[in-house]
Amino acid sequence: MGLIPDFKQIATRSPWIYRINAGSCNGCDVEMATTALIPRYDIERLGCQYCGSPKHADIVLISGPLTVRVKDAVLRMYEEIPDPKVTVAVGVCPISGGIFRESYAVLAPIDQYIPIDVNVPGCPPRPQAIIAGVAKAIAIWRERL
């Protein structure tokens, strides 16, 4: 860092997070929404903030196996997120379909449709794992800025 601060470096300290539920059983969502935000795990210290609108997001957390019903909505939502963005797949569902893998209604693995940068396996994953995944996503995001 010289006289002029490194703005890209500074920018990576403010990743805003958006959650997409692609037909998850809600287990992963509960982990993301509550556990990662309660005092013990607090991801706000990384500068993260859950945002209500996909247009404000930098890091997308996707959970669930991508059911046929929500596929179009999820793809559209993903398009709405402005570049540069990073995608994190939370849970085992987006990777393989998890416990839903033999269903006729799911389209997992999700990376056939959306480029996934970080996988956080687990059913549901532990909060520590989600935080580690987000931290990894921030590192990838830094390169894309």
Binding site: F7, K8, I10, A11, T12, R13, S14, P15, W16, P39, D42, E44, R45, G47, Q49, C51, G52, S53, K55, H56, D58, E80, P82, D83, P84, L145
Partner: protein, 319 residues
Amino acid sequence: MSNQIAILLAVLLFPGGVFALAFGLAMKGVDRRVAARLQSRVGPPLLQPFFDIIKLGFKRTMVPAAANQTVFLYTPLVGVVSMLIAAALVPITSVYAPDPAIGNLLVLLYLLMIPGIVLMIAGSASGSPYGAIGFSREMALMIAYEGPLVLIAAAVAIRTGVGMGGWATFSLNDIVAYQQAHGSFLFDPVMWPAVAAFCFFYPANLGIVPFDIPEAETEVLEGPLLEYSGPVLALFKIMSALKKVVVLSLGIALFFPAAPANIAAGFLVWLIKMAVLMLVGITAVRLSMGRMRIDQAFVFFLKWPLLLAVASLAVVVVV
């Protein structure tokens, strides 16, 4: 000519412009940090709002197909400029006195309405149904809180004017000078209804819980801001940071401008007052309450602040 330059400097550097922006963002950072500590979390770094603004500068701006592009992109600029000017209107005791040509309470009241109107226009120009809901909620809330504000301002103006042997004075410099000479309105029982009404008004005007109904992110996905991204969204964040400085500073100027005559000491006292107003009036309130419904907020404002404001005006006129 020289006073035009002075006004320009006041708008761009101090107390508007660069100073108000940095101060507003720093206040936001302290607010978030203290809020986190009160919830026994670690919380974000103090400079987090600055990081957020810089980050938004790197993002792409997307304009929805349904939006009116010109209105969508340029309304936030109007809001920022109005707040920059407003910041130059509010006196800081013994540090800054606005040029008499602009330091007028009525002008300030009009300028303070602009951010709300900007949010409404932005919400409807975005072409999103959530923006439209945000629009209607913002409008209802504005109708609810503008009335009390005007009455409060009138009460202060009349009290000052009558005290100075006239009828009503809307010059902010006079209002501050009068209180410097005769004691702050905060300690004047006649003005207490107005002080109380102002305490209800400013959380609503600044859009914080329990009155952040137009931008409720859990129900209307941040309403008018839903479709904004990148640098344009940063303009909205800047606008609300500036607005916070203006409104809190206005509260101090109207009710409690007492400060030592020394510049440095006066500034320090102002900083302390701002911090107390923010921590008590914003952080504590925001953490201890849930969001109201728009109808509840509307009825609430018509019941209490309006009543208090009418009472204060009546008392001031009678006494």
